[in-house]
């Protein structure tokens, strides 16, 4: 594969590859955690990540986080609760693409002397929020009222992220003959992984029969095509690799990252079937000097089953249009050709907008899992983040040190 062709004329920052590592990572309690705010869940995850790294809060001099949608300058409150002043501190608003973007910005900030050790994290209280009242449950709305569309949607009964992504699924099925069996192969594989993860929100097996029996939400998506509503947070700590060697855990190398945003819109061009993962991934591969053939495990942003399928195509794990056959081959299962979302993903572990995918990628490369959860001989992990109005994307490639 010609890396220069993939990078779209942008010079990859090869010198940043391996410059920083992730030295600590952790989650908060996951799933249904009533009575705890999203902010406190995030602080809980950061506390655990600091401990995982064997550091003290005072060792952290940078904070990059995505805030809950209604929060202003979230990072300031996070740092206050950690009791630290921060050399570098900001809040991102790229939705589910924010968490990897935070790590990319952290590496650049550390390289150019703005900070030494940066924590990146995200927390949400979506299960508690959508179960606070009957109205909240029916609306299933995680955004504050001020951010909901006022025209070109509600008057047509068009609400929510499920429908937005279902448009892509319908179009992909039309163009390539993709089926709900293919989507079911993703849902059942990730559930099987969740059953090996004691922290996962979902505890019951899911068969293909169960998948098809699930109630329809917004066709072609049924309930098992949709990610979970969770109370969940995760955090990672980034520092220079030469400093990372002395810490409690083996460092995990940040080999590459990329971003791309199809800001012409999800409904324009072919963006709902060829996502921003294509160009984001090309940038990350170019920086890392790697390609899809080098990836041992993928942790893909699975807000909906279809989004896994189309991103796997966009990342080059199979050709565009062949995602259905690829996922139905069993490739995504632990022991398969490309073990994917090995902690259960947002479909079955818990949904923290891509943060838990990063945590899982790090853990797989530490090789500390029992054999039943470990991707054997994993050296390289690819992680994706997707969000905003379906158009923001970020990619992270991690390597075993």
């Amino acid at each position: 594969m010609n890396i220069a062709d993939l990078s779209n004329g942008v010079e990859p920052a090869r010198e940043l590859s391996d410059y920083c590592s992730i030295v600590g990572t952790a989650t908060s309690r996951l799933g249904k955690v009533p009575g705890v705010s999203s902010l406190d869940l995030l602080v809980e995850a950061i506390r655990n990540a600091v401990d995982d790294a064997g550091l003290k809060a005072s060792d952290i001099d940078g904070v990059i986080c995505r805030g809950p949608d209604e929060s202003y300058s979230h990072h300031q409150v996070v740092a206050e609760r950690l009791g630290i002043n921060a050399r570098f501190s900001t809040t991102l608003t790229n939705g589910g693409a924010s968490q990897i973007l935070a790590i990319a910005i952290a590496v650049m900030a550390i390289r150019f002397g703005l900070a030494k050790t940066i924590v990146c994290g995200f927390g949400r209280d979506t299960w508690s929020r959508t179960h606070a009242s009957e109205e909240a449950r029916v609306r299933n709305e995680t955004r504050p009222a001020s951010q909901r569309p006022r025209e070109f949607g509600p008057e047509y009964g068009y609400f929510g992220a499920t429908a937005a992504h279902a448009f892509g699924a319908t179009r992909h099925m039309h163009l390539y003959g993709t089926t709900r069996d293919d989507f079911g192969a993703i849902a059942t594989a990730f559930r099987e992984h969740a059953l090996r993860n004691p922290d996962a929100q979902m505890k019951k097996p899911l068969s293909m029969e169960d998948y098809h029996a699930g109630r329809m939400i917004v066709a072609p998506f049924g309930i098992y095509d949709c990610s979970l509503r969770s109370d969940a947070a995760g955090a990672v700590i980034v520092t220079r690799t030469d400093r990372a060697r002395d810490m409690r855990r083996p460092p995990v190398l940040i080999k590459g990252f990329g971003t791309f945003n199809n800001t012409r819109g999800w409904f324009n061009d072919d963006n709902m079937v060829v996502t921003a993962a294509k160009n984001s991934g090309a940038a990350a591969y170019a920086m890392a000097g790697l390609g899809p053939q080098d990836v041992d495990t993928a942790q893909i942003y699975d807000c909906f089953t279809y989004m896994v399928l189309t991103q796997l195509e966009d990342y080059g794990f199979c050709k565009k249009g062949e995602g259905g056959a690829f996922v139905s081959s069993g490739a995504l299962r632990l022991g398969g050709a490309l073990p994917c979302n090995t902690s259960g993903g947002q479909l079955s572990e818990a949904h923290a907008e891509g943060m838990l995918q990063i945590v899982e990628g790090v853990r797989q490369l530490r090789h500390l899992y029992p054999a039943e959860r470990q991707v054997k001989d994993a050296e390289i992990a690819l992680i994706s983040g997707h969000g905003g109005n379906q158009v923001c994307h970020s990619t992270l490639i991690l390597g075993k040190a």
Binding site: R139, E151, F152, E155, G157, A163, R215, I217
Partner: protein, 135 residues
């Protein structure tokens, strides 16, 4: 409670007011660039093709095809309880721009990508909203 049972009506941004005014006259009108003749949706006051600020609304054919669609089974708003299952589609107009609407006068299971459709107008409270039906 009766208020929440009413279907939402558009609450137009200033730049989309002419679109909704045309709909009240049962016309489908899109923003059109006075300089490059480009058209787009949703409405804005800057042409995304050439960044001209000279923009007018012109009537379009109202004909198009279904680019993609979804079928709502879940009720997200009580006013739509009697409508499920209903189709929300992305219509690609003959002129190029795509817009969201409902497909009416056809069973949800008979809607297909690439199906030819044409605009029809429906009164919702004080507003008139463009919808599409097979042609």
């Amino acid at each position: 409670m009766s208020e929440v049972r009413q279907k939402p009506v558009p609450r137009p941004a200033p730049e989309s007011a002419p679109y909704w005014a045309a709909a009240r006259e049962r016309r489908l009108a899109l923003p059109t660039c006075d300089d490059c003749s480009g058209q787009w949706f949703p409405p804005s006051r800057t042409c995304p093709h050439c960044l001209s600020g000279r923009v007018s609304f012109t009537d379009v054919s109202g004909r198009g095809k279904v680019y993609s669609f979804v079928t709502f089974h879940r009720v997200y708003h009580p006013a739509f309880e009697g409508d499920v299952p209903y189709v929300v589609a992305l219509i690609e107009l003959e002129e190029g721009p795509r817009l969201l609407s409902n497909i009416v006068d056809v069973a949800p299971e008979d809607v297909r990508c690439e199906m030819p459709v044409e605009v029809t107008f429906e009164d919702v409270g004080e507003a008139v909203i463009p919808k599409f039906r097979p042609r």
